[in-house]
């Protein structure tokens, strides 16, 4: 795709869409978000197995399907639209990509393969303090001794951290930041699920004291910032899908709801708000799609990833605010589904960096 999805990509999207409609109605989401795991193991097996979505964007050598960020974007957009509860962001997009990028073939065999077939869940821990998703100065440190590497420090906002069997951890070494891998039940790891606004995306804080871990790949410099770009692209596409779902819900509801003897969707103020929202949502989709294309083409990746994150965050939040408002009182109730997207929108806005952060990052990536 340059600007239009291919027929194959459209078909792929419809397949994912049908799956979500069937397997992830919001009744399921509501059930799962209240569990500690936060996902359904059978559905996850389907996603990794039958549907083959787990390694969609990873090279075939790494056990993936050899597609790219565009196809991953399609998955994320549909997942964001349906609000499916699955550890896809944490285990596949974040940890899976990190393993595929940094691990040796034998490490991939050991750590990545079980993620892609759904046997295990992994999480990627980079961030240490509020907002420091891109810090190059890590406080979490790894020391080598005769017995191997040991990591100590703290990590925050680790997606699927509590659910993970495997943890990928960024830590500072004397030679710069490196990624390490360990089992989550290793001695010295304390994992606390944190209460997040959006219960459909589980996060945890980690405390690590002298945890034995294995260095991923060779002892060569890694660019954590660049590694984060795929997550941003995935997140942007997920947010575009969420915004789309909210727009659709608002349109549908205002066409049905009657006040003063007419559907509220016939009131010009509401029509215009929806027209504005359509523009916002379509613009966000453009930005999200383009970020995926740029990622696959390796062109201005950071610039486009940050642009997309900023654009889709703002659009998603606006769609959420408008969708609640257009539902009126009902939109503020727990029973109505709007708040599921509202909370996802609100938390995605700041996860991996605020819109203001990404606007600045975009300009810096442009060289300005």
């Amino acid at each position: 795709m340059a600007f239009a999805f291919t027929q194959d990509q459209d078909n792929f999207r419809h397949m994912v869409q049908r799956f979500c409609v069937e397997k992830a109605p919001t009744t399921e989401t509501r059930k799962l978000m209240d569990t500690e795991a936060g996902y359904d193991r059978q559905v996850w097996q389907l996603i990794c197995g039958e549907l083959g979505l787990a390694g969609i964007h990873l090279p075939e050598e790494a056990g993936g399907s050899g597609f790219g960020a565009v196809e991953l974007g399609i998955v994320m957009e549909e997942f964001g639209r349906s609000m499916i509860c699955a550890p896809y962001m944490g285990s596949i997009v974040m940890a899976g990509t990190a393993l595929s990028t940094c691990a040796t073939p034998s490490q991939q065999q050991r750590w990545l393969a079980p993620l892609l077939n759904g046997e295990k869940i992994a999480a990627l821990a980079i961030c240490e303090a509020s907002g420091e998703f891109y810090s190059t100065h890590l406080h979490c440190t790894a020391r080598i001794s005769s017995e191997g590497w040991q990591i100590s420090g703290e990590k925050r906002f680790v997606v699927n951290g509590k659910q993970a069997d495997t943890l990928i951890i960024a830590a500072a070494t004397d030679n710069g930041p490196r990624l390490f891998v360990t089992e989550s039940n290793a001695t010295g790891i304390d994992i606390q699920q944190v209460e997040t606004m959006d219960p459909t995306r589980k996060m945890a804080d980690l405390k690590l004291s002298s945890v034995d871990a294995e260095l991923l790949g060779q002892d060569v410099p890694i660019d954590l910032d660049a590694l984060q770009n795929l997550t941003l692209v995935a997140l942007a596409n997920e947010m575009a899908g969420g915004a789309q779902a909210l727009l659709e819900a608002a349109v549908e509801y205002t066409k049905l709801r009657v006040q003063f003897g007419r559907t509220i969707g016939s009131f010009q103020a509401i029509k215009h708000k929806l027209a504005d929202l359509l523009l916002i949502v379509e613009s966000a989709k453009s930005a999200a799609y383009q970020a995926a294309v740029a990622f696959d083409n390796k062109e201005d990746v950071s610039e486009n990833a940050s642009l997309a994150k900023a654009a889709t965050s703002e659009a998603y939040l606006q769609a959420a605010i408008d969708c609640v408002q257009l539902h009126g009182g009902i939109g503020f109730t727990w029973e109505n589904d709007t708040h599921l997207w509202f909370k996802r929108a609100k938390s995605s806005e700041v996860f991996m960096g605020t819109p203001a952060f990404h606007r600045e990052r975009m300009l810096q990536a442009m060289g300005d």
Binding site: E195, M197, G353
Partner: protein, 418 residues
């Protein structure tokens, strides 16, 4: 007037006893009229002006003395009864409103008629000496504690909508009335749904006349609007010791329960600078701009409200300032949520105990969407402002014929996700 204040002071110092029960004390107040001085002498008042009553209330405040039960829907019920009730109704209900023995709720909004209150489809049909009520109400604050409800129901479907409504007092403790708490997206449950299935209202409990319900409701709504800005709670009595104070604090706690997230709903502008200093965001030029925008918006709104009050006090005709507060509040709350998010960064995605400031930040973020909806959506406010203040032409109407022919929501029972 001065005389009245002196009398009040004297009576209070002679009669006040913090070891009485709330009901004992307030019964004295009702019998003498001191707590509700601007009510008529024949109905537990002293027939004073509203200003005099306010002066007397100030004496209660100053002396640390508990007054009539004020909170919740009680005073709306009283005002409506005083204006539209008959003698029997006033005698029966007003005293127990003062004593707090009865609590009340409002049964106006329906799932199908939120902005369009007069589009009510809850029906009341006269069978013999009783009205039989069927329908569903919603957004009924404190209905699960209420003894009586102020009910708006349709009694005539063949006339235009405003003309077919009647206004009743309904006994909430009866098998035909089921109250369910309604959970909000912020986790609180401040409102109720009330389901009425062949619920019974005796003929005596019709307020005013059949078909006159909308006019009566307008009285209730006007008093509700006036109480919009009133400060809730009774801070100055919070520290006092004595049986009556304990009972009073318990009453307040129950009555104020539904409103405890309201400060967060408004966006907590008061916390902005403190939080910005706490997180260091005060040093970020971009966030500083947003903080300043918010403070400008918020202060300007306060000044506009002060202008409206000052003009009113000076006896000037009401300018446009008076109608703008609610719309301004929506804008402020929305912007405040954004600025709190900027200030908190990634911590803004936390909730509960994990969220900054004892969870207040998260509660702000998931509560502000209510401001622009509750008590009339922004859209309704803008209609009102443009038509009543700016004199713009009204929307064409599609609901002026007999109500039975007016298009309305088919949903009457359960309403779920879109």
């Amino acid at each position: 007037m001065d005389n009245l204040i002196t009398q009040a002071r004297q009576w209070l110092s002679e009669n006040w006893d913090p070891d009485l029960s709330l009901v004992e004390w307030r019964t004295k107040l009702a019998e003498t009229g001191w707590a509700t001085a601007d009510w008529p002498e024949e109905y537990f008042g002293k027939g004073t002006s509203a200003e005099d009553a306010a002066e007397i209330a100030a004496v209660f405040q100053e002396m640390g003395i508990v007054g009539a039960a004020q909170s919740g829907v009680r005073m709306l019920a009283a005002a409506t009864l005083l204006e539209h009730g008959n003698d029997t109704q006033k005698r029966k209900y007003l005293k127990r409103i003062i004593t707090g023995e009865d609590s009340w709720c409002q049964l106006f909004s329906e799932p199908g008629s939120g902005s369009d209150l007069a589009g009510s489809t809850t029906r009341a049909d006269l069978k013999g000496d009783e009205w039989i009520v069927n329908g569903q109400k919603v957004w009924n604050t404190s209905a699960h504690h209420a003894d009586y409800g102020l009910l708006l129901a349709r009694t005539d479907w063949d006339v235009p909508k405003h003309q077919g409504l009647s206004y009743f007092i309904i006994d909430m403790h009866q098998p035909g009335v089921e109250v369910r708490q309604l959970k909000q997206m912020n986790g609180h449950a401040s409102f109720n749904e009330v389901f009425m299935t062949d619920a019974v209202v005796s003929r005596d409990n019709l307020l005013s006349e059949v078909g006159n319900g909308w006019q009566v409701a307008v009285t209730t709504l006007a008093h509700e609007r006036r109480s919009f800005d009133r400060i809730r709670g009774g801070g100055s009595l919070a520290e006092q010791k004595g049986r009556i104070y304990d009972e009073y604090r318990k009453e307040l706690e129950i009555d104020n329960e539904p409103y405890k997230w309201y400060p967060q709903r408004a966006g907590r502008v008061d916390l902005i600078l403190e939080r910005a200093r706490e997180t260091g965001a005060i040093n970020d030029p971009v966030t500083r701009q947003e903080i300043a925008k918010l403070l400008i918006m918020s202060r300007s709104a306060q000044w506009t409200a002060a202008r409206a009050r000052a003009a009113q006090q000076a006896g000037k005709p009401q300018g446009p300032e008076g109608s703008l507060g609610k719309l301004a509040a929506s804008n402020i709350a929305r912007l405040a949520a954004r600025v709190h998010t900027d200030i908190s960064g990634a911590d803004a995605l936390l909730t509960g105990a994990a969220s900054p400031h004892d969870g207040i930040i998260a509660e702000i973020l998931v509560s502000v969407p209510a401001v622009s909806i509750a008590g009339g959506t922004d859209e309704i406010q803008k209609n009102i402002i443009s038509e009543r203040v700016l004199g713009m032409p009204k929307e064409p109407r599609f609901d002026t014929g007999p109500f039975k022919d007016v298009p309305r929501n088919s949903v009457s029972g359960k309403w779920g996700a879109s």
